[in-house]
Assembly symmetry: C2
Homo-oligomer: 785 residues x 2
């Protein structure tokens, strides 16, 4: 039995009221702070004990040679692995010469709260030292949304019974020892010890600075700290610095009514090009600026930033406080991952842990950007600008593989392919179409034509070129894409994966359309009428296999002819299957790790009839094991669309509770950003029934029995609107912006300011929900071994 940290249920916060050291690493992920540029795991202020110490800067990575048992052409040579950078969170405390460490003495009380409105992590502890001195330690930590390079900690200590001598050591620490890598689980990260080479260390009164170079990648990074110190008269402050530590020390004798308060300002910077002096000056300037703004100023801007966010994205559930909390927790963390990434990737774990080596995958485009597009669209533009910035590498990769256009990597930090297992990565060419899809969706939800011309066009053109060269015309006239891997990681190297072909079709059409809209920019990329026609022909001729015998779409050609996995003989403790069965056997049988054909029905709804959707969903549910966290939300969406509202809601629970309940047993390595975004997808696109169908915003809401109401806000083409779904009616409100047309099912509504539109929702006939593999039923009580 796995243990999980437990948190109290409340609407706007996640509170941990007792400290379980066994599951510390999970708490650290859940209580992580980030703005998309800086990430800080919820490590205790005093540094130890820890599960996994972690401070990250987006795109600061180390290179690690990839070893192969047998070499092969086109295999990536090196992995990029996120680096645990200089830790600025550390504030050590000595009480009468005894180090404050919760493993010793007595932890009288412990509360940590992640405040989803204030955007801070608060901690309040009463601790009795082994020698019997009782102190209260309070801290509040923030990573600023407003000041991208800045984090700050407000820390205080006070004696509660008798006077004590305290020493505070506030530090920057580089090259923290990391726990050894344990399991043979491909999802965990490589551990890199001592990978930061000291370039400069410096201290000044109440401040300090460290500059390091990452050994093999050569990335230069700098961290600086400044302090405002409030201490009784007679206290002493000193500072010092050596290669891997900068330290500001406060020594004070405190009477019961006295305290030492420290506000620590932190600034981070990194570069592959700028010089050490330039970085030095950059972080020193940033930390001085932060001190000037002050703690109150930073806290106020943090709250204001979040207030704006919540005004455009909040989801409220009437009658389910547990999911209510989980959904807000999800929305908060996705914002943290993407808010200020600005031209850098949004990794699968955000900046909450080292899982997947800090890599970004296609999930960002398909799952994370879906949520951000309707809540913080500028973050979507940034994320796609990052992809755009990697086009030279994607073009080079396509050329190496023998194709035209751009082949984006399966997993990467800076655009270079980092996967050493090509059947599940290089062959998963759908990444190209996923990027294209995100471009199309962004432009539809924002109308950002300038972005389309500057960034979107080239992404669409280069991905369309890839598809044209990847596919071929069969003698029967169809356009086919052979030997690729779709989203489902329990299949590989199959012909005509339906998801891939449908997404490629969309990509080809979109490229043609956008080139017609932006003729001169298209011409600058060498696109002429001939190429546009080529794309349209390939899209028109795209082969979509269909199994007439079963009346369903095979996930890929031949899939439904394969043997069905023997679920009856698979024990519950054998999930995830990939850790207990060979890929050989998984690939050749009908067993689905994550939605693939069902995801195609979500993203290309117009390509399937309602009957197709129902039959396909019913076919794939019993063979989909959800060993990936990416699956539940999609099953929620199609479950809801095909009328299985209760089932859809169970998937909402699974997706939103994935980390709070540690359903995948690997929250310790970081949060599952795509699944957390998927909780929103499941609610808003699933139960809420929101779709962007060409230029139409369509809403087909329905909520399951037991839920009294579902209310959600979203941003769309410069407006903010709210949809309030009740069991038998939906209420639409324009919260800001110009009048807006939307469709409630098949009826067009014109939304105007301060005027609520109310429409009835027809009841659906009750129908039996399809079954899942035994032991893999979704829901809050999901069986864990």
């Amino acid at each position: 039995m796995f243990r999980h940290p437990s948190f109290s249920v409340e609407p706007w916060a996640v509170t941990e009221s007792n400290l379980d050291l066994e599951v510390l690493a999970q708490s650290e992920s859940i209580l992580a702070l980030s703005n998309g540029h800086i990430g800080m795991r919820g490590n205790l202020d005093e540094g130890e004990p820890h599960g996994l110490p972690g401070t990250y800067l987006n795109s600061v990575y180390e290179l690690r040679p990839l070893p192969y048992p047998e070499p092969g052409f086109g295999y990536p040579e090196a992995d990029q692995t996120v680096v645990n950078v200089t830790n600025g969170k550390v504030i050590r405390l000595l009480v009468d010469d005894e180090p404050f460490d919760v493993r010793y003495g007595e932890l009288v009380s412990h509360v940590r709260t992640l405040d989803l409105q204030a955007g801070v992590l608060r901690r309040e502890v009463q601790w009795r030292s082994p020698a019997g001195a009782l102190v209260r330690v309070s801290s509040t930590r923030l990573v600023s949304f407003a000041e991208r390079a800045v984090a700050a900690i407000s820390y205080s200590v006070e004696p509660l019974e008798r006077s004590v001598q305290v020493v505070l050591q506030s530090e920057l620490v580089a090259n923290e020892p990391l726990p050894p890598r344990t399991a043979d689980d491909p999802r965990v990260s490589a551990s890199l010890d001592q990978t930061l080479e000291g370039e400069e260390s410096l201290s000044w009164p109440a401040g300090g600075l460290l500059v390091h170079r990452v050994r093999r990648s050569g990335i230069l990074l700098a961290a600086a700290m400044e302090h405002d110190i409030e201490a009784p008269e007679g206290s002493a402050t000193s500072s010092e610095a050596s290669a891997d530590v900068a330290r500001v020390t406060v020594v004070a004798t405190l009477e019961p009514s006295q305290r030492v308060g420290v506000t620590k300002f932190l600034a981070y910077g990194w570069s592959t090009q700028r010089s050490r002096p330039a970085l030095h000056d950059q972080v020193r300037g940033a930390v001085q600026s932060a001190r000037q703004i002050g703690w109150e100023g930073l806290a106020a801007s943090q709250r204001a930033f979040l207030e704006d966010y919540w005004s455009g994205v909040d989801v409220e559930l009437d009658g389910d406080p547990e999911i209510q909390q989980a959904v807000r927790f999800s929305l908060f963390h996705v914002l943290q991952a993407g808010a200020r990434a600005e031209g850098r990737p949004i990794p699968a774990k955000g900046l909450t842990g080292p899982g997947y080596d800090g890599h970004a995958f296609w999930d960002t485009e398909i799952y994370v950007l879906g949520l951000l597009g309707l809540s913080r669209p500028e973050a979507v533009a940034d994320a796609l600008r990052w992809r755009h910035s990697t086009l030279p590498r994607a073009r080079a990769r396509a050329r190496q593989l023998g194709f035209e256009g751009a082949a984006f990597p399966w997993r990467t930090i800076d655009g270079q392919e980092c996967s050493g297992y090509w059947p599940a990565s290089t062959a998963a060419f759908h990444v190209a179409a996923d990027v294209a899809y995100a471009v199309v969706r962004y432009v539809r939800t924002t109308g950002d034509v300038a972005f389309e011309a500057e960034v979107g066009l080239e992404l669409l053109v280069e991905t369309a070129r890839l598809w044209r060269s990847l596919g071929h015309h069969h003698t029967d006239g169809s356009f086919r894409i052979d030997g690729v891997t779709g989203p489902d990681e329990y299949s590989a190297l199959a012909d005509n994966n339906v998801y891939t072909n449908l997404m490629a079709q969309l990509n080809l059409h979109a490229a043609a359309d956008v080139c017609v809209r932006h003729r001169s920019q298209a011409a600058a990329l060498g696109v002429g009428d001939e190429e546009i026609s080529w794309w349209r022909d390939a899209a028109r001729d795209m082969f979509i296999p269909y199994d007439e015998r079963l009346g369903v779409h095979p996930q890929a050609q031949g899939f439904t002819d394969h043997e069905v996995w023997d679920f009856a003989r698979t024990r519950v403790d054998q999930y995830p299957l990939m850790l207990h069965f060979h890929y050989f056997d998984l690939y050749r049988k009908q067993v689905v790790k994550q939605s693939d054909l069902v995801l195609a029905m979500h993203l290309r709804p117009e390509a399937f009839s309602a009957e197709d959707k129902e039959r396909n969903f019913t076919y794939y549910e019993p063979i989909t094991v959800r060993d990936s966290s990416l699956s539940a939300c999609t099953q929620a969406v199609i479950g809801a669309e095909t009328g299985h509202l209760g089932l859809a809601y169970d998937y909402v629970a699974e997706s939103s509770l994935i980390d709070l309940d540690d359903l995948e047993h690997n929250t310790r390595d970081g949060l599952h950003m795509a699944a957390l975004a998927g909780a929103w997808t499941a609610l808003v696109e699933g139960l809420g029934g929101v779709r962007i169908e060409n230029t139409r915003l369509v809403v087909r809401p329905r909520i399951p029995e037991g839920l009294q109401g579902l209310r959600f806000r979203m941003r769309y083409q410069g407006r903010r609107l709210q949809v309030d779904v009740r069991p038998s009616e939906a209420r639409y409100q324009l919260l800001s912006g110009d009048d807006l047309s939307l469709w409630h099912h098949d009826e067009e509504l014109l939304l105007r300011a301060e005027h609520e539109e109310v429409r009835p929702i027809s009841a659906l006939p009750a129908r039996p929900a399809p079954a899942q593999p035994p032991g893999r039923e979704p829901g809050r009580g999901r069986a864990t071994p």
Copy 2:
């Protein structure tokens, strides 16, 4: 342009008349001696210069952890790599204090001859030292077929102009430094330096002994030497030993008419179980016994052994001395690889080099054992006994993968899977059927019923069980085997590979038949009527895909729907394709590395009509690139069967000249045993038209224009017979043994002693031969970059 060593054309020898240091490693492979237990590369006696120093003992290997960029369930943890063991070939020479090294002074003459009848490597050199002393050095080396643990060298030196002082140092040397591994070519081996740990060293007058343990595998190995020394009066002999060297030194002053002659006897032994003292005694005894037999005795038994071999296998070509030599060279080396392996594998390179890490593959069963079965059938029984001895590991592997029966490894030394790239190895389950096929063929060619009951039955049962659990019945009633890799390494993970399905079908039928023949032994393995019926049903229902549109068999389901490789845009210097293109693209297109469907037509001829064979051969020729050395012989067989005799003969040339002409540019790493055996296959099964069809020996010979005659001998069911093919008639002779029925085309003949049967051969209508990919046409002048 690559350079190749050149050898003079002669019928019974391979002679090198000048020494080209650039291609020394290739010569060392070609001039290697082996008896299947001990292998010695053709390194110069004095040890240096060398291309690749190599002395091997069958199944003495080191373990090397297999690194994976991403771990996966069921991946092998360690590779077994053949070890360069204690080198007993070394006889260093000093002439007036200057070391005899062909790189210095002047090599006045150099001749080395591999004598295919005497089974020795002779060398005669005249060398002028930098100081001007001219000497003749002669040596003859043999690895004894008769005495499995023994090798010997007869060495002499004599001055030719003036008197010289000579020092001979005859050594055992362990841990020779190996050249660094160079290329990223998966076909070369891992280099293991300093992997032998000294356990014992000892010297005695004129002898010495070293015992070492292989570091990680723990294998214990011992080598001993003894010498007979003939030297003028006044010469001195001494000996010494340290951990990695044992040395016998002879110092003599020679007048022009005098010589020093040394006969060096060597014995080797190894064990995983026996103690150091036991091994010590074993090799010491063996070397004393060898000395007792003496050089002349060893040489005589060597010649007798070969005389017996040639009497049952010789192939003579009238009008083609180049191929004549190449075929005898091939037959000689295949004998060397397999003669005395005795319960150990026959590796892909024999014991001629470290290529493929010294692993054995399925090629042994399908290619090498085909030749040995009709020439030295006891070697086939031995090789299959080795497979049988690995059944516990093969069963465990099947269990790990979730299957019944036995899953033999793709590459191994001792039965453990050693491949780190599973799509081309673990998924290539046809290995099981290849073993079963070899069992069936051996029993048919020998009638060895005892072997069938003791060894064959269990191999057939366990492989049949594998197929039954690997396949599944489709709703249409067919039995299908999905997601496997066939022989062609440019395809992988395909459904219903025709070769695999047909071979599995044969395997299932054979298992059923043999269990019926040996009821009680079958029952002891738990085989009952129910299981036998299961096998027969699965065999009967076996799905063999067929492309009605093209009228050909697809290599695997869907293969002929794939895009054809763009041969026109592939440059000649881009072969082998796997070094210049990604497997992703190779796998998904119609491009064939080596015969797969064509091999199925060779091994399961009755499963195809004559029209099928012609159409299939014509279809696959233009897409088969022969980047594997295993392909040409099969194309020869089917080319001949479908009437393309000239083309077939070109393939004979390619297969037989593969190493003499270094066609694959990797002869340096060892000889291609399967291709060399394939030269025989191409001639005897191709032009000779020999087939074993159930209990019938059928011969359908035809020779191409330009060849005046083809004569070959073979052993069959205890007889020796000879087939003499002329352009318009075939002559059959029983050389020894009882009367024998055979079929000349459709006519049954009864062969009796001393009575030649002559039958006419009808001429075939001329027909155009199918084309190969541009630049990949077979023949002696095959383009090399």
